[in-house]
């Protein structure tokens, strides 16, 4: 309802009923404004032209009304055009009165809105003068409509501080519109996007682009003319040139050629970053949308902030450095060559997939080496054997190496109820000591995949595996294939060696039996006959017995040598007193000494010296050394000493005999080197074998080595480690 009142009378705003009216007369206008201001409780939104700030400050009544409102907690949002002329007033508004001040170029409207009322000065104002007519309304809809209008101005406006700064620092030659732009902003208007990209491109002194195939097409459709101009400038030396990074494939190869022909530098990269961008010396434009050919970009980020420029510049340079030259790439595509590459695969899931594909795609051969039995088991559980069986049915040869016993392998295979045997899947066992941390797959000697074993204790393949490296480079595949072949061969040798070892053991057993058996009757019956014949014949019998015994000793020695050499000399260790063994052996030897010119010296150590060793064999060693000493010493002494040093036992047999021929000293412990009468020539070799099997050492030297030239004879030493008392 509109009521009009006469110009001379004052019509106060009487009641709260909804009404819209025009108030005439400057006095009335002022009163209406003042009343409006005093009746506001929450907020006032003011949208005014450049003439009003001065009024709000200079016109005291108005100023105070604003200040009072502020005191009451009313929030004043004030948008106007800030100019050189009213800048000081605006500053004052900023500091004293307003909640927030903003600037909008060319602001011409004039109205105020509170939470409940709307005020609009009705005529165009002169600077400094209040209006002579004003519209007032507290109709809800009108207030709402005008609020909406205010908000749209408010949102387009810029903060006053920035505008003030711009004015004070002096404006650039850019247009007012340009000055409005944020340093970083997002454009989602497709026309504007084209505009901005064109502008960025045209104003560049150098241009780098990282785009996918679709964006390349889009760029060509919209901006190629601009680029052509830049390239002309480049020829004159006025532009640093255009560089492109993209993924060149069969679809866009022709476009790539076009670019190249025009003089754009172009490189190919296999994996493009998820954002596409164009960067000049001043600005960057960036989008994360993926476009298919020619479709329009919907959202673009533009910035001239230095940080963004630096960041994306460095990304570009890195890609450029690692990229493939476009010419090479196009050639590869035309010739159908797939370039050799090495790829690191970060997730086990991808590695499994890749492995499967490799195996499936193989045409004639798959080589697979597992790092451990567990790795094999894990793979079998996710279907590896079934995959191999499939592939084998297509005529592919599959060879598998596993560092485990054949038995264990077959047990794992049986877990998956596969129809056994698997004829064309050739599984070979290699020694467990060849367990590694990598698994190897080579397909057709062309593709190779190496998978790191990170944790062998895991049940699940995906938790056990680590990084993988794939390559389709032939030289690399061949290297791995040759490693595989070597181990394959070794596996064969290993099996052969095992079989040989077993065969050797069997041989020793049989040989022992066959050698010993005939000697018994010879010895036994000779002994039976001996007392029954005369002296002469008795001598003959003695020869028979002597030689039978010699044969017997030789047979035993040869058996021992065979055992030592085939590593099947078994020691039956027990705890015994070494001193006792030595004195017993001495006793036996003493009985053999024919002349009285040789003395045996042994200090029976009252301390018990217990060692853990094969009693019979140690006795054999001592007996051998002593009987050697006896054989080679015509007169003098043979002494035996036992010493304990660290955790070792030293046994020292010293004689004053002929000494050792220096020529044979180096080979003293070899077979058939030194032979005494009735000796076999194997004694020292066997002694060495026995001592070393215990982990000890045996050696000998002539006594005149110790300086005193007059000392005769030799000394033999041997050690036994790790004694326990």
């Amino acid at each position: 309802m509109v009521t009009s009142s006469s110009s001379s009378s004052f019509s106060p705003i009487k009641n709260a009923k909804e009404r819209t009216e025009v108030v005439y007369g400057i006095e009335n206008v002022i009163n209406t404004v003042l009343q409006f201001l005093s009746q506001t409780n929450n907020k006032i939104d003011a949208c005014v032209d450049y003439t009003r700030p001065s009024l709000s400050i200079d016109f005291l009544a108005l100023k105070n009304a604003f200040l009072n409102a502020k005191k009451r907690g009313v929030k004043l949002r004030y948008v106007t055009e800030i100019t050189k002329d009213n800048i000081s007033y605006c500053k004052q508004l900023l500091t004293t009165m307003v909640y927030e001040l903003r600037h909008l170029d060319g602001m011409k409207g004039n109205f105020y809105i509170s939470e409940s009322a709307y005020l609009a000065p009705a005529t165009f104002h002169e600077k400094g003068k209040p209006a002579s007519q004003i519209i007032y309304s507290n109709v809800k809809e009108i207030v709402e409509h005008q609020s909406y209008v205010f908000d749209s101005f408010w949102n387009r406006a810029v903060p006053a501080e920035r505008r003030i700064k711009e004015i004070e620092e002096g404006t650039s030659s850019l247009s007012a519109a340009a000055r409005l732009h944020y340093k970083t902003r997002i454009i989602d208007n497709s026309d504007e996007i084209v505009k901005e990209i064109s502008r960025l491109t045209a104003s560049s002194n150098k241009l780098d682009n990282c785009l996918n195939s679709g964006e390349m097409q889009y760029s060509y459709n919209h901006f190629f003319d601009i680029k052509k101009k830049l390239l002309d400038k480049q020829k004159k030396g006025e532009h640093k040139g255009i560089r492109y990074i993209t993924n060149i494939n069969n679809e866009n190869a022709h476009l790539a050629k076009t670019y190249l022909d025009y003089g754009i530098q172009l490189k190919h990269v296999k994996n493009l970053p998820p954002m596409s961008f164009g960067i000049s010396d001043k600005e960057i434009a960036l989008t994360i949308e993926k476009m298919d050919d020619g479709k329009v970009v919907q959202s673009l980020l533009i910035s001239n902030e230095t940080l963004y420029l630096k960041h994306f510049s460095s990304i570009f340079e890195e890609l450029w450095r690692n990229g493939t030259d476009a010419v090479d790439r196009i050639r590869e595509l035309e010739q159908g060559i797939e370039p050799a590459r090495i790829e690191i695969i970060e997730t086990p899931r991808k590695a499994v997939e890749l492995a499967r594909n490799m195996v499936k795609a193989a045409k004639y051969e798959v080589l697979r080496m597992y790092p451990s039995l567990n790795a094999f088991r894990r793979q079998v559980r996710i279907g590896a054997l079934h995959l191999f069986r499939e592939v084998v049915q297509n005529g592919v040869k599959v060879r598998i190496l596993i560092p485990a016993d054949r038995q264990q392998i077959m047990q794992v295979v049986s877990e998956v109820e596969l129809a056994l045997p698997l004829p064309q899947i050739d599984i070979r066992s290699i020694d467990k000591s060849l367990q590694t941390h990598i698994g190897i797959i080579v397909a057709d000697r062309r593709d190779s995949l190496i998978i790191e074993l990170r944790d062998d204790t895991k049940e699940n393949y995906y938790e056990a595996a680590g990084l993988a490296a794939y390559s389709n480079s032939k030289p690399i595949a061949l290297s791995y294939a040759s490693i595989f072949d070597t181990l394959w061969k070794q596996g064969e040798l290993y099996e052969q060696l095992k079989a040989y070892s077993v065969a050797q053991k069997d041989f020793v057993n049989i040989a022992a039996h066959e050698l010993r058996t005939p000697i018994q009757p010879i010895l036994s019956l000779s002994e039976i006959i001996r007392p029954k014949v005369d002296n002469k014949e008795r001598e003959y019998i003695d020869v028979i017995i002597r030689n039978a015994k010699r044969l017997q000793r030789l047979a035993e020695d040869i058996l021992d040598v065979t055992k030592i050499e085939s590593y099947s000399l078994t020691l039956h260790k027990e705890r015994f007193n070494l001193n006792e063994v030595i004195s017993n052996t001495i006793q036996d030897i003493r009985n053999q000494i024919s002349n009285g010119k040789v003395k045996m010296l042994y200090e029976f150590d009252k301390d018990l010296l217990f060692i853990e060793a094969d009693k019979e064999r140690i006795t054999q060693v001592i007996s051998n050394l002593l009987s050697n000493a006896v054989k080679f010493t015509k007169e003098g002494t043979i002494s035996i000493e036992v010493e304990k040093k660290d955790s070792q036992v030293f046994v020292i047999v010293k004689d004053t005999g002929e000494g050792i021929d220096p020529e044979i000293l180096p080979q003293l412990f070899s077979k058939f080197v030194s032979k005494s009468f009735e000796g076999t020539g194997l004694g020292l070799f066997i002694a060495k074998g026995i001592v070393e099997a215990h982990g000890g050492k045996i050696w000998a030297e002539n006594n005149n080595n110790s300086g005193n030239g007059k000392e005769k004879g030799a000394t033999f030493y041997f050690t036994l480690p790790n004694i326990n008392q």
């Binding site: 020793v508 057993n509 022992a512 039996h513 066959e514 050698l515 010993r516 058996t517 005939p518 000697i519 018994q520 009757p521 010895l523 036994s524 019956l525 002994e527 039976i528 017997q552 027990e574």
Partner: protein, 134 residues
């Protein structure tokens, strides 16, 4: 002197011949077999008549240890001496090795005198674990 009765089982005829001569010279009455199965049969029939049995280990049809086990079923207290040219491997016959005195194992060849001594010792001692000496 009361003749001691001994049973010899060895697949080699020369061995049996030799042992027989040696043992008979020393007052033993000898029964001998080259076939372990026949020997077992005989033992059943003679039951308890032998003072000692001498067994080879490596024989076809049944090895010495197996034969000993079978004989033990008939006479648990039988005195045994294993006289063999083979290597003594403990493995599968641990029970026998653990229950018999080491004296009961003789490796060929052995001197006649020593053989007789050993046999006498075995016949005297209680060859079960209780009196086992190392």
């Amino acid at each position: 002197m009361i003749n001691k009765r001994v049973l010899i089982v060895d697949d080699e005829p020369d061995v049996i011949l030799t042992l027989k001569i040696v043992l008979e010279e020393n007052g033993f009455k000898v029964d001998s077999f080259t076939d372990p199965l026949l020997a077992l049969q005989n033992f059943k029939e003679q039951d308890g008549m032998y003072d000692i049995i001498i067994l080879d280990i490596k024989m076809p049809k049944m090895n010495g240890f197996e034969l000993y086990r079978q004989i033990k079923k008939i006479d648990d207290k039988v005195k045994v001496c294993f006289l063999t040219a083979s290597e003594m491997y403990y493995d599968a016959y641990e029970d026998i090795f653990n229950t018999l005195d080491v004296k009961c194992f003789i490796q060929k060849p052995i001197e006649n005198k020593e053989l007789i001594d050993r046999l006498n010792k075995i016949m005297i001692i209680d060859s079960t674990t209780a009196n086992k000496t190392t």
